[in-house]
Symmetry: C2
Subunit: 550 residues, 2 copies
């Protein structure tokens, strides 16, 4: 096995060969990354593999380790002789410099080359930024030349940067006089929140990408008529900017499992999954394609089925729910700072949260496996509480030490997943029908996924839903924007809250992505840097070795 | 010769082999582009080749075709059996969507793959954008947390985007209340105008890059003390973002001459040349390295010698001055719209502009060759006027049909350049000494390069120069920001204006790049889109073929 001296990684062409993917389909980016041509999936003509969705319980602020578990699981599958591939989101660079640090898994279950993946990678986020901002520039250009009916106060299309920069959230543009554009309020979101990102991730071909870009709703005329991106005439240029970004990126895990890492939309105002083209490529080339959906099952899992699978014709063979003993203790009422101390009773109390997500996942009728992402502080008694619960419920459960042991720590998990996925394929079940009224769709999600007693759709949201119907967007599915910290829309409610009402404050039309966003609470689309950002700890030496990026 | 089916291009590894550059030094980006590791230059241990600087007379708005002529010349050198390479700037994407279209040469003398080079290329501009904006975010973050003495009204560091977007020129950031940053005036420049771009282009190593970033002057405290980027503590992260961008990009010309295309700073507020590392790489690997400097010789040529060569220890063997018959007619008083009509008398009158640039170039003591970039409308009589003039002056002159015939159209030019460059090497001569007072440096440039009668340094500029001296920046060289449309600072004065005064309105300290910018007139750092931008004519088909990008 030839190894690249610099990274200790196998050349990416070799990794591709593990999937019978010939070099002619690769566009190399360095020696350890490649873009894969879209034709590759069909060219091989294999029977598609089984899709394994990795989701989680309601996480602690540190997360449940879904990415690390997904990578560990894929490595475990390979250890038991299965042909596995990963389809994962790519990290956003902004948060890497903020609080979060890297987002490429951890320990013995990582994506490599992790530093590059966390920073520029193959430039996809930058391409999305540029495509998004070209449309914004075209809008302000038309306003400047008075060459549009667009109402400057009703432009909804903002600008984006892949940077945590709170000072750009609310800005005034076009100042400085007559030749500097039209003064108006606007702002920047982070690139992961761009509708272009959601579009790139949901498009299943270049044509679909182009058509979705055309359909973006950018604002309204003074007569309240919709203005679509198509009318600005720069969509062809946007597609040209995205011409390479639409191709999935191939990298590898610590144990050299092929990983298609492509796209990274927000999991609240968007659907939070990697690209459809990457998922289909992993399925087309491997027997087991392991993918994940953002946040916990109530948000990510539901959107995976109702938005991504429905739109792309995907159908998972099994669902893995990742839980940590720490998070279960948190749901059992233990303060975050004390979740490292042994407390099996708290774990027991916290099982209500796991139960809620298992109930939600059960709705979709797929086999389920619980993966306990093991930490050094977990006691056998605490682990036993979860295993016993799953046993009683008749759900497979495995403790996985993916951070410490990589694939070797996930062999049991891999075996249980293979067993679960061996069940005969059931057709895709979705939570609601597209022709239901939006209000009914929202209510169904809130009741079945969140356990809400009901939904309160506030006036602003109701009038937006009416407008959406009038404009022909009534049949779009719903993308719920809700806190990830609770099953309810109140981030403080841990465990399995009951009797609460979900408040839908506002609704947005993501016509290009193809969903209506129902907003509950305030959603942050442009993070800020913390007082001591991670950016202060990163450096490069004279030979180009990056330090301080976890 | 193996050819890539898609582009009809040779694989880049083969192009590299023409320079004895082994694949181990390449980081491929697709099959037809590569980044080259910085170690490559030294590793080969060849005697450096001869550096050929391509500059021009004062251009028409369409430009004199310096890039096309540079590429044609390198192809001509190869045709006469010389080992040649190009070191050129990379296009900025913003203007590609504006008025300009692509910037990769033309006809039979182009850089390939031109579409990619004009768009994302290898992501360098985006990396520069991100590094620049991380520093901006860190500044506003310190202001937000009240963790700095920086005076919000004296922050000079703005943000950048590689986009023509006039509405971002003057903005208010930090609006929206207490948790959204500190409200203050700011704006965006285009990425080519970023000091990080100038720094990347002048740095001769990773260490030098890091040190220059540290030295950026971002603003002043309330006590009027300077605040450097180093104090914001994110320079290590900026260097990490630039870790791949600092490596030169290797592509090829239409006739497969190796081309190091790297960096693209403005030619007014910056020095307007490709990166030092790319120029040194071309010199280290080829016998003739053809490079160019932005705008005409008065601006680009002067900065090439006084800023780039002085800082990097480079020393050109010959200078090529590109002229077109059209531009000479314009300088001879013909309206732009009539420059296609035969008018040898106007060409004769316009020779004063060529004479001025030849005088300027002569100051630096290098052999000079005039290249007439031929157009179909040029008559033999008109061409004869220029040849006769050059002959009388004792300067080599060749008509080159590089657009129509590629290298074959530049054989005579190549021969004359080889002949000129065969002269014994003279030490580098600069126009002024670094320990002169800034005012004297500016006056020398204005008198010798522009033919000015004198310089008027306005009050704002004078007080900035005083401040620069107080802060220890008095010994920095001068980067003149002047219109490219005239030898004077009045864009309307064609030909060779006399008796004019150059007005220095303001001065900026580019401490990281290592020069003081003397501003004459208003400089545009963020272009706008025209009413019918080129972006409206670009598209992509279902197979990913881009159309409409010249």
């Amino acid at each position: 096995m030839a190894r690249n001296v610099e990274h200790g990684l196998r050349p990416i062409a070799e990794v591709a060969r593990d999937l019978d993917l010939s070099e002619s389909f690769l566009e190399p980016y360095g020696r350890d990354k490649a873009k894969v041509r879209l034709e590759a999936t069909d060219a091989l003509g294999r029977k598609p593999g089984k899709l394994i969705l990795v989701s989680a319980i309601t996480p602690t602020p540190a997360g449940e380790g879904k990415t690390t578990t997904s990578i560990g699981l894929a490595q475990g599958l390979r250890r038991i002789g299965k042909r596995a591939a990963l389809a994962l989101r790519q990290p956003s660079m902004g948060p890497v410099f903020g609080r979060k640090g890297g987002a490429t898994g951890g320990g013995a279950s990582k994506l490599e080359p992790s530093n590059t993946i966390n920073l520029q990678f193959t430039g996809d986020f930058h391409a999305i930024t540029a495509a998004h901002n070209l449309l914004a520039a075209a809008i302000d250009n038309r306003l400047h030349f008075r060459d549009t009916d667009l109402d400057p106060t009703r432009v909804m299309w903002k600008r984006v940067l892949d940077m945590n920069d709170r000072a750009l959230r609310h800005i005034l543009v076009g100042l400085g006089g007559r030749s500097q554009g039209i003064p108006r309020e606007s702002g920047f979101d982070i690139t992961a929140a761009s509708e272009v990102m959601a579009i790139l991730c949901l498009a299943d071909s270049r044509q679909d990408l182009r058509a979705r870009l055309d359909r973006i709703l950018v604002g309204f005329t003074k007569a309240n008529e919709p203005v679509l991106a198509k009318q600005l005439k720069v969509v062809g240029s946007m597609a040209a900017i995205l011409n390479e970004a639409i191709q999935p990126n191939l990298v590898q895990s610590t144990e050299s499992v092929p990983a298609f890492v492509h796209g990274g939309p927000f999991a609240n105002i968007a659907h939070g999954c990697n690209s459809v083209v990457a998922t289909k490529m992993a399925l087309g080339l491997a027997d087991y394609a392991v993918t994940e959906a953002g946040f916990a099952f109530d948000l990510g899992g539901e959107k995976f089925f109702d938005l991504k699978c429905r739109s792309a014709g995907l159908n998972p063979a099994a669902v893995v729910i990742v839980a940590t003993i720490r998070a279960l203790k948190m749901h059992g009422g233990v303060a975050l700072s004390s979740t490292s101390e042994p407390d099996p009773a708290a774990v027991e109390r916290g099982l209500v949260n796991l139960a809620a997500h298992l109930d939600s996942a059960a709705f979709f009728g797929k086999p389920i496996v619980v993966a306990i992402n093991q930490f050094g502080t977990d006691t056998p008694e605490e682990l036993g509480v979860v295993h016993e619960y799953c046993h009683d419920r008749g759900v497979g459960c495995a403790t996985a030490n993916v951070f410490g042991q990589g694939g070797a720590g996930a062999v049991e998990l891999a075996e249980k997943v293979v067993e679960a996925a061996a069940a005969p394929e059931a057709p895709l079940k979705t939570l609601y029908e597209l022709d239901w009224p939006a209000e009914k769709k929202i209510e169904e999600i809130a009741r079945v996924m969140y356990g809400a007693a009901g939904v309160s759709i506030q006036q602003e949201a109701e009038s937006k839903l009416k407008k959406a119907r009038r404009l022909g967007y009534g049949d779009l599915p719903i993308c719920m924007a809700k806190t990830q910290d609770s099953l309810s829309d109140n981030p403080k409610l841990r465990g399995r809250p009951k009797g609460f009402t979900v408040h839908v404050r506002d609704v947005e039309i993501a016509a290009g992505a193809g969903f209506l966003v129902a907003l509950t609470g305030e959603l942050m689309r442009m993070p800020g840097l913390p007082e001591r950002p991670a950016a202060e700890r990163i450096d490069v030496d004279a030979e180009g070795r990056i330090t301080g990026l976890s």
